[in-house]
Amino acid sequence: MPTIHRRFLAESHYLSLYAQLVGYGFRKHATYWGAAAAGAFTNTVFGVLRAYVLIALWRARPGLGGYDVTDAVTFCFLTQAYIGPMQVFGGGLEITQRIRTGDIALDLVRPAPLIFWSLSEDLGRAGYLFLARSLPPTVVGALLFGITFPSDAAVWPAFAVSFALGVVISFGWRYIVALAICWLRDDRGIAVMSLVLTTFFSGLMLPLTIFPGRLGTLARALPWSAMVQVPADVFLGKAGIPGALGFQALWAAVLLALGALLTRAARRKVVVDGG
């Protein structure tokens, strides 16, 4: 049998395992409901502050970046809603701690690939945080400022897919950052750099559509825009759906492939060379 077929059969054998891991990730985070509520509160407060600044800007320049004021406010609260599920500020993965303690060696010799194992747990985490941390800021934003909802029913499923792809891309990036610790003595520096890149280039601080010139073009091509800006544009109906989803799928594939390569290198380093 060709290798690819054997691999596929082996992988599909693990599907029920992955499904269980998704459930496990969901339940594990559900026990920290206090932390999730605090996060939702903080995301909402920042949403309100950002909304005022964006309103002031759009009052001065109506129609800026192809958004009207309501679009800008909607963008603001949607992006605040992504912070939890997409873990925009970094972290959220158990492997960071496992690498630090050396337990990662145990994970790397398991038959199920570490990257899918972690991804499944992370999807469960994102699922719970979507309920706990995404809905509250959106509802408060709608009540305080009024936000726009898609008029075309076809947008909703496209948005769901785009949101899920955003979570996968965010996972791919955080996984790479986490594995980098295998080669670094101290992880705080890279965590700060990741935070800076993600918050600025994802569209969390300002919509990427108003970034000027080449900076804007660059920002819109990078993977971080696929995490925040693109799903928001799909929701607002500002992006062609096939193009947006294709762009996200491409980055998801690239980051996961990079992650798989790094996992192999990490296995060689940790298991074969003994750390």
Binding site: Y32, A56, L206, F211
Partner: protein, 261 residues
């Protein structure tokens, strides 16, 4: 205070032993702070005024608030790790030492990388002042407002920390006030709703970090028409909030020692 300075010096020397990470963190801190400026730059790339204030005026408000906040964050920002200390049991270890808990928490694992942010804010403030041409009759307020702002920001960190004695599992709530306060004061308060501005004037006195004294320095009318004398109240507001913060922190420690949780 002497103990505190000696402690942070020891931690600084310890941090310098990992130069790669230390450099990345310092650069990261500068870049993170630089991004706030980039955001303002992008905003003013698209408009000439924000909330009725032009670029140098906004830079002045941003720089003065940023300087106050980042100095407080550098020196005392670690106070928001208190819930981690409680959960890990290291807070017990602090209670057996003959030094105040706030000093110990603030100094614990101190790293100077946040100094980059303070430096960046100071540069922005200097650039703004060079373009504003403030006469000495109003410029005297600038050091007063920066020092008051440091005291107010530090008090908010301490209050955020004190709240974590109650909300040990939900420390993120404090961020809404600490980092939220920093974000709020970056822009002219005239962009926010009137109720929000009254709240940060009369309840949580964030308006006294840079807004009210800043209006005096810039010689501007209050867009919300609040009383003129509020502009001189920053030191009083800072002192009052500091007292509240000291009381809250002590209550938090007392509560910890009387509930054992």
């Amino acid at each position: 205070m002497r103990v505190y300075l000696l402690l942070i010096w020891t931690w600084t020397r310890a941090a310098a032993r990992y130069p790669a990470s230390f450099t990345l963190m310092t650069i990261g801190g500068c870049v993170a702070a630089g991004l706030d400026v980039a955001v303002i730059w992008i905003i003013f790339h698209n408009t000439t005024t924000l909330g009725g204030f032009d670029l140098p005026e906004v830079m002045f408000l941003y720089g003065s608030a940023g300087l106050s906040f980042s100095v407080a964050d550098l020196l005392f920002g670690n106070a928001d790790r208190i819930s981690q200390h409680i959960k890990a049991g290291t807070f017990d270890g602090m209670l057996i030492r003959p030094v105040g808990t706030f000093v110990q928490v603030a100094a614990d694992r101190f790293t100077p990388h946040r100094a980059g942010r303070a430096l960046q804010a100071a540069v922005v403030l200097a650039v703004a002042l060079a373009r504003l041409d403030v006469p000495a009759t109003r410029a005297w307020m600038i050091p007063v407002m920066v020092v008051s702002g440091i005291v107010i920001s530090t008090s908010i960190w301490a209050l955020g920390g004190a709240a974590q004695f109650l909300l040990t599992d939900a420390p993120e709530v404090a961020n809404a006030f600490t980092y939220g306060g920093a974000t709020l004061t970056q822009y002219p308060l005239s962009v926010y709703g009137a109720d929000l501005v009254r709240g940060v004037t009369y309840v949580l006195p964030l308006a006294f970090v840079n807004w009210q004294p800043g209006l005096f320095v810039l010689d501007r009318d209050d867009p919300l028409g609040l009383p003129y004398w509020l502009r001189f109240l920053s030191p009083a507001a800072a002192a009052a909030l500091a007292l509240v913060a000291v009381y809250a922190w002590r209550s938090g420690v007392r509560r910890y020692r009387s509930t054992g949780s």
